[in-house]
């Protein structure tokens, strides 16, 4: 996908289509949609910096009880070990920095990894039945 806000909308819609067929209820669909949106925004805005020369790879799939979304950008990567806590008092009134926190809150699994030679890939998983 291109590194545009339109791609964010498209990815969210695609993910929700798969999630709906997987049988998630409205509440979970809202959570999935938002988590995918936040992940795509990170890839487009922070990873690829809206570059027309960089793409975002997107996958949404359902298998057994696992609904999986994988998003990869071609950016320079970032320090995943020192993400500020948006709930800390000193960060509460910041105007940004809540995306990853929301993804982790709404999905059952969330993994980030650096890609070689460059880029970041995130994997979001939600179970169709509670574990």
């Amino acid at each position: 996908m291109d590194s545009t806000l339109e791609s964010v909308d498209s990815a969210e819609a695609l993910a929700l289509g798969v999630a709906e067929r997987a049988g998630f209820d409205e509440d979970d669909l809202m959570k999935i949609g938002l988590a995918v949106r936040e992940s795509m925004v990170n890839a487009v805005v922070h990873g690829n910096r809206y570059s027309a020369h960089k793409k975002v790879r997107f996958l949404a799939a359902h298998h057994d009880t696992r609904f999986t979304v994988r998003i990869a950008d071609e950016g320079e990567g970032f320090d995943m070990t020192h993400l500020p806590d948006p709930l800390a008092p000193e960060n509460l009134m910041r105007t940004s920095g809540r995306g990853i926190f929301l993804i982790r809150s709404f999905m059952d699994e969330f993994e980030m990894k650096r890609l070689e030679p460059g880029g970041t890939e995130v994997t979001l998983v939600k179970y169709t039945v509670s574990k």
Partner: protein, 113 residues
């Protein structure tokens, strides 16, 4: 559809009826611009009616926080009205629900200023 804003006066309170999606891009920037304009016009009492907001992401939440800070720093008050479950849940998860003065009914919100 992005976001639609309708501004009206109820006494000395400026009520902004917000409808649609407050997300990164048009939605969040429209809200930001509207609040900045109100502050520049020295409007001190602002009530954001979010009853028709169907969707908000972290950027939208950021604009609410930014607006609150801007209005408060200019000596004014910004309050929220009519949160649906989605917006309320997001503000609670991010521990912002208690930062804002949130109301469910317009008349009492107006009186609270």
């Amino acid at each position: 559809m992005s976001v639609k804003l309708n501004t009206r006066q109820v006494g000395d309170v400026t009520v902004v009826d917000v409808a649609g999606r407050i997300t990164l891009g048009e939605g969040s920037s429209a809200l930001r611009d509207a609040l900045r304009e109100m502050v520049s016009k020295n409007q001190k009492k602002i009530l954001l009616n979010l009853g028709e907001v169907s969707y908000i992401d972290s950027s939208g939440i950021g604009e609410l926080v930014s607006g609150f800070t801007t209005v408060t720093n200019s000596g004014g008050q910004l309050k929220l009205l009519g949160l649906n479950k989605r917006v309320k849940d997001l503000l609670q998860i991010t521990k912002l629900y208690t930062v804002f003065d949130v109301h469910e009914e317009e008349a009492s919100a107006i009186r609270s200023f």
